[in-house]
């Protein structure tokens, strides 16, 4: 397979985004496994992965079969833009000192405490609380990964016929790496620079999302995709512009936080 800069960018973005989500899901499953039941936690994880595979396959086929190219760009671009802006906003607020940085150890302790307080129900021979919390944790975090894989993968097929394969492979690799490191460490992966990764991915998702959503606006005109000035180079411009705007925002928020602390 020929690896271009766009393909490498796709692989890196999907890998980072997936790793962030998998670290969060791993914390939940680890807490359930250690506190309640490994059998229920792992069954919940496996069930969630099956459900995710089904959702991804159905959504992927539906998007390819029933939607025109410009509409597809508009739908996936808008979804990426919404996810990207949310991630970017959260990471800017964290870097600016307005939100506390996510701490996997604190999240792990909170999950453990909640699981201790929960009652003990057994269904199908499984600790139901551990099963349900593991299922929900993996499904919800995994759904975001699935959307990113579908949207990035389908969009990249324009540049690379194996785009969906590259995106899926990157996500699987990230999942395997997180699980392998987690199994060896047997504790929450708090050393992972999750907030920095979230910031980088937020920037990439916002840039690619803006690019594709604008191309998809052509659906409302002649039906053909709209083109950017400078074509694909515009993505680089969006990343650089987004980086500049976000660094300015972080600097401004840090000043605001310091002023508030000094006044308080």
């Amino acid at each position: 397979m020929h690896m271009t800069a766009a393909t490498l960018g796709l692989a890196a973005a999907t890998f980072l985004a997936s790793a962030v989500e998998f670290v969060e899901a791993f914390t939940i499953v680890l807490a359930m496994g250690l506190t309640r039941s490994w059998r229920a936690a792992l069954t919940g994880t496996a069930s969630a992965l099956l459900a995710l595979t089904a959702v991804t396959a159905i959504a992927g086929v539906a998007l390819i079969q029933w939607i025109s190219e410009s509409m597809l760009q508009l739908v996936i671009g808008t979804l990426l833009l919404l996810f990207g802006l949310q991630w970017l906003r959260t990471s800017i607020l964290r870097a600016g000192g307005l939100l506390t940085l996510r701490d996997e150890r604190a999240a792990f302790r909170a999950e453990q405490e909640a699981s201790r307080l929960a009652g003990h129900q057994v269904h199908l021979g499984l600790d139901w609380t551990a099963f349900v919390i593991s299922f929900k944790g993996v499904f919800l975090e995994g759904l975001e990964v699935a959307f990113i894989v579908i949207t990035f993968g389908l969009s990249a097929t324009r540049y690379n016929p194996h785009g969906l394969l590259v995106a899926s492979g990157s996500a699987v690799l990230a999942g395997l790496l997180v699980v392998a490191v987690g199994v060896i460490a047997r504790r929450p992966l708090s050393a992972v620079p999750e907030n920095t990764m979230k910031y980088a991915v937020g920037l990439l998702l916002t840039s690619f999302g803006t690019f594709w959503a604008v191309e998809g606006l052509g659906y409302f005109g002649s039906g053909e995709s709209l083109t950017w000035p400078g074509q694909d180079w515009a993505i680089l411009g969006l990343v650089v512009g987004g980086l500049g705007v976000s660094r300015l925002a972080i600097a401004g928020l840090r000043r605001t936080s310091e002023t508030s602390r000094a006044a308080g």
Binding site: L74, T78, L79, L81, L82, L85, Q86, L88, R89, I92, L93, L98, L140, L143, E144, T206, T210, A213, V214, L217, G218, F220, G221, L226, T227, W228, P229, A234, L238, G241, G242, V245, S246, A249, L253, T256, S260, G264
Partner: protein, 75 residues
């Protein structure tokens, strides 16, 4: 009924999240782009720049809104 409410709430949380102004702003900016596309005499090369600028403004607006929310909560 409870299932429907739960289903809709799930998708709202998943897509809109905790900052509704981001989703509303992004959709509004894309709506403006679509409107410009259907307006006679507007250069098509101008539309991507308007949308990119709009996305930046949506992000900045949401951050400012969060700062204001926190200031109000501190009072």
């Amino acid at each position: 009924m409870r299932f429907l409410v739960g289903f809709l709430r799930f998708w709202y949380d998943f897509i809109v999240g905790d900052a509704w102004e981001i989703a509303a702003g992004a959709v509004a900016v894309l709506g403006i782009g679509a409107g410009l596309l259907r307006t006679d005499g507007v250069d098509r090369a101008f539309i991507p720049l308007v949308v990119a600028l709009g996305v930046g403004l949506v992000l900045a607006g949401s951050l400012l809104a969060e700062v204001r929310r926190r200031r109000r909560a501190e009072r």
